[in-house]
Amino acid sequence: MKRHAWILLALGLGLMTPGCILTSGQVQIQFTLPNFSGSSTTGIAGTTIDLNTESEYQDNKEKLKDLSDLAVLGKFTNNISTPVNVEVWMTTTPSSHITESALMSDPTRVKLWGPFQVAGNTTKTVDWNSSAQLFSVAGKAALLSEAKGDGQFSLYVVGPPSTAYDFSVSNGVLVLVIDVGI
């Protein structure tokens, strides 16, 4: 009887230990993105994200184990008649590049997401399932590393190199689902 009591006590302590496999969950975090634009003639505009500004992230940062699901959502408008394949790139250190060539020269750049095709002179809202498929393996790893690190990085939306493009992105949101030990 005494031995059983000790086993139960040990099990109970195990369940209450922070980060236990059983006491874990998947927490969804969303970041509203500013309106983006990208043009092969007038240049690109990036945005620096600081995950620490989100209370959801702050509450769970120390318990973060993995990134289980992620998506870039929003409305993509192609302002010219040629179809465009939109890509999202990140620099793991905050930056403020205004041209695609400057972004591509940044040693910390990583392709995060895409390509997402938008037909000429149309607006297309990316759906959540399609978006979840468009993340690159390297991009996902870099985002996880940033989430576990200082939580600060820059995002850029660009078109394919050496082609004419002009698009804008509105109602943008970055959705992350993180695995946390509770």
Partner: protein
């Protein structure tokens, strides 16, 4: 994976070994019910206890209790589950995220016999392999589960099974958890 396959093989070997020593019992059963994700894709800043449970899914499967040794019944199983899509509004636009499709197989160890005459309450534990799939995400990991079952036999060779269980798919240092409730019927093949 090898370890998971070893468990059903061990059960079959034990069953085979006891064929010589005594009669081996075997039933087959089908079941269906509900499966509810626990603490998955929650928002902690606006969390309320009701948010702990995600969109309910349906579950169905087959199982075959093997009565080879006293006290413990080994039960290989195969099941499939389908979870509802999840809708959410971001920046004024409604988006839908596909729910997981799950495929599981493995082995349960039941204390006692789930079927036979009269009423039976029985605890059980199990280990298996579960594949959770949805667009852009796939998890294929070991599954640990346990729960409580209730069996009643309304007619010879037939029994009705009601079970509640907690299931955990281990994903590295964390897990995806589900609570399941299902109702099934078993048919006794042997003896």
């Amino acid at each position: 994976m090898k370890r998971l396959l070893a468990l059903p093989l061990l059960a079959l070997l034990m069953a085979g070994g006891t064929v010589e020593a005594g009669p081996v019992g075997l039933s087959v059963g089908v079941f269906g019910g509900l499966s509810i994700p626990v603490l998955q894709d929650v928002t902690t800043s606006s969390f309320s206890p009701g948010d702990a449970f995600g969109d309910t899914g349906s579950q169905f499967g087959i199982r075959a209790p093997v009565y080879a040794i006293p006290v413990i019944t080994f039960e290989p199983y195969f099941s499939k589950a389908n979870y509802k899509d999840h809708e959410e509004v971001f920046s004024g636009i409604t988006y839908t995220r596909e729910g997981f499709d799950a495929t599981s197989f493995g082995l349960n160890a039941i204390l006692g016999k789930p079927d036979g005459g009269g009423f039976h309450f029985y605890p059980f534990v199990g280990i298996g392999k579960t594949k959770l799939e949805r667009t852009g995400e796939e998890i294929n990991k070991a599954d640990y589960h346990g729960g409580l079952g209730f069996g009643i036999s309304p007619a010879p060779k037939f029994s009705i099974q009601l079970r509640g269980e907690f299931s955990m798919v281990k994903t590295g240092d964390t897990s995806r958890k589900f609570t399941n409730a299902n109702l099934g019927v078993n048919y006794r093949l042997l003896p």
